[in-house]
Point group: C2
Chain length 238, copies 2
DNA sequence: GGTGCCGTCGTACACAGTACGACACGGAGC
DNA sequence: GCTCCGTGTCGTACTGTGTACGACGGCACC
C-alpha cells in the first residue's frame, strides 16, 4: 500500500468512545437509502446527523463516500440467503440462486444500482458469494466454464430486473403506492394517439406489469429451462 | 399545462441568434459522456463552456439538467437501427432487436445507465421504438401479451449487460485499454487465497470474459431459443 | 504529571444545480 | 426616427455536495 492509510484500517481499537463504527455507518446508509428517499439521500452529512456525529468523523472510518457505497453493496451482498445445499439438480441450483438474488434486490431496492456498478469491484462478501455460488453450480455437475456463464447471466438478469423495477418503487415510497403509480402510467400509455401507437395503447395493461414479480418468475423459468437444456446437451456431447 | 413554460417549449423561433439549440446541447452532452470521462462529466457548466455560452443559457432550452439527460436517452434511443422488416420468423425478430439494442449500448456505453432508469419514462422516440418493436414481434405471429414480455426481457438483458460492461469501458477510456484492465482483474482474482476461493482462482480467466461480446451472444442465443420454444408451446396449445 | 497519539469535528474550499434579475437586441407602433 | 417591449443571454449568488486542513480533547503510557 503506497499511502499511510491510517484511517481506513479495520483494526481500529474497538471504537474507543462513541458507538459509531463502520457497521453503524453502513446500517444508517442502508436505512436511509431503502426508505423513502433512495440512494440520493445518502449524503455524508445526512449520515453524520443521523448518527449524531460530525461530518468528518465518518472519514475516520471510510476514506471516501465511494467507499461507504462499496461497503453498502458489500453488506447487502453478504446477506444473500442461499438454502442449504443438499443433493441438487442443476435446475434447482439455478433457481435457488436466482431467487436469492431477487430477494436481495427487493429487500434493498436502491442497492441494485450500487451492485450493477460494483459487482465487478472486489470485496470480501462479494467474492465469497461468488465462490459459494460457483461451487454450488459445480457441485450439481455443471462444468466450471458454464457455471461462470450461468452466474453472469443470472446476475445480469436479476440486476436488470431490479434496476428496471427500482424507479417505480422509489416513486411509490415517496408518496403514492405502487398500484396507483402503475395506474397512472397505464393511463398515460393508453392516452397516446391510437393511430400512431396502436400496440402501445392496446397493450398498456400488460406494459405496466413488466416490472412485476410475475414477469421475473417468467424470466427465471425461461432461463432455468434453457440453461438446463443447454447443460444436458453439453454433458451428453462430451 | 399549469405553468407558463415559456422557456422549454420546442417552438422557439428558430434560435434567433446563436447557433445553440436543443440538438446542439444534446450532441455536446453525448460527446462528453461517450468520450473519456463518462456521464459524471456531463455538467451544466461543462456543456456551457463547450458550447461557448453562459451556464444559464442552457436553461432557456431545458428546464433542468434532468431534462437534458432525458433528451440524451431520447436521442440515443431514436438512433436504434432495426433491419428492414421482411418475412421474419419470431426467432429472427428477437435476434434483430437484441442486436440492435446491444449496438446502441456499445456505441453509447455511458447512456446505458440513463436508459435503465429512463426506459419507462415516456418520450417520443422511446415510445416510437417501443411501438416499432412490438409491431415487429406481433407481425411474426407472437401473441401481443407475449410480445410485451419478450420486449421486457430483451431490454432488461441488454441493459444489464451494458451496465455490467460499461464500467470496464470507462476505465479503459480513461487510460489503459480494455485488455490491460482485464489482465489486471484476472491477476487480482487469480491472486486470491486458493484455499478460500478455489473456484474463483481457477476460473479467473473465464470470469474476466464475462462482459464480452461472446458472453452476450451466448445469452442472446439462449434467450432467443427459449423464447421461441415458449412461443411454440403457447401457439400450439391455443 | 507530563507527553504524545488518535479519534473527533468546526471551518473552509471547490464544484454541483439552479433562482433572480439585469442586460442587449430586434421588431412593432407612433 | 425614436420608443417600448418581448425574448434570448448570462453574471451573480444561494443552497447543498464531497472532502482537505488543522485545532481540540481525552486516553494510555513513561
Amino acid at each position: 500500500m503506497t499511502t499511510t492509510a491510517k484511517g481506513g484500517a479495520k483494526g481500529r481499537r474497538s471504537a474507543s468512545r462513541g458507538k459509531i463504527s463502520r457497521e453503524a455507518i453502513v446500517a444508517a446508509a442502508l436505512e436511509v437509502s431503502d426508505s423513502s428517499a433512495g440512494l440520493d439521500a445518502v449524503t455524508v452529512r445526512s449520515l453524520a446527523t443521523k448518527l449524531g456525529t460530525g461530518t468528518m468523523t465518518l472519514y475516520g472510518y471510510f476514506r471516501s463516500k465511494d467507499e461507504i457505497l462499496d461497503a453498502m453493496a458489500d453488506h447487502v451482498m453478504s446477506g444473500i440467503e442461499l438454502p442449504p445445499v443438499e443433493d441438487e439438480t442443476p435446475e434447482q441450483a439455478l433457481r435457488a440462486v436466482a431467487q436469492a438474488f431477487v430477494k436481495l434486490m427487493t429487500e434493498h431496492p436502491s442497492v441494485s444500482w450500487l451492485l450493477s456498478s460494483r459487482v465487478t469491484r472486489s470485496h470480501a462478501s462479494l467474492k465469497a458469494a461468488m465462490e459459494d455460488i460457483l461451487q454450488r453450480f459445480v457441485n450439481t455437475g455443471i462444468p466450471p466454464e458454464t457455471a461462470v456463464r450461468c452466474y453472469g447471466l443470472l446476475i445480469q438478469f436479476a440486476l436488470g430486473f431490479a434496476a428496471y423495477q427500482a424507479p417505480r418503487q422509489w416513486g411509490a415510497a415517496s408518496g403514492e403506492d405502487g398500484a396507483e403509480l402503475r395506474r397512472q402510467q397505464q393511463h398515460y400509455w393508453a392516452g397516446l394517439p391510437a393511430t400512431e401507437f396502436p400496440l402501445v395503447v392496446a397493450l398498456a395493461p400488460q406494459l405496466v406489469l413488466l416490472p412485476t414479480e410475475d414477469q421475473f418468475d417468467w424470466g427465471v423459468d425461461l432461463l432455468v429451462e434453457v440453461l438446463t437444456r443447454a447443460l444436458e446437451r453439453e454433458t451428453q456431447r462430451s
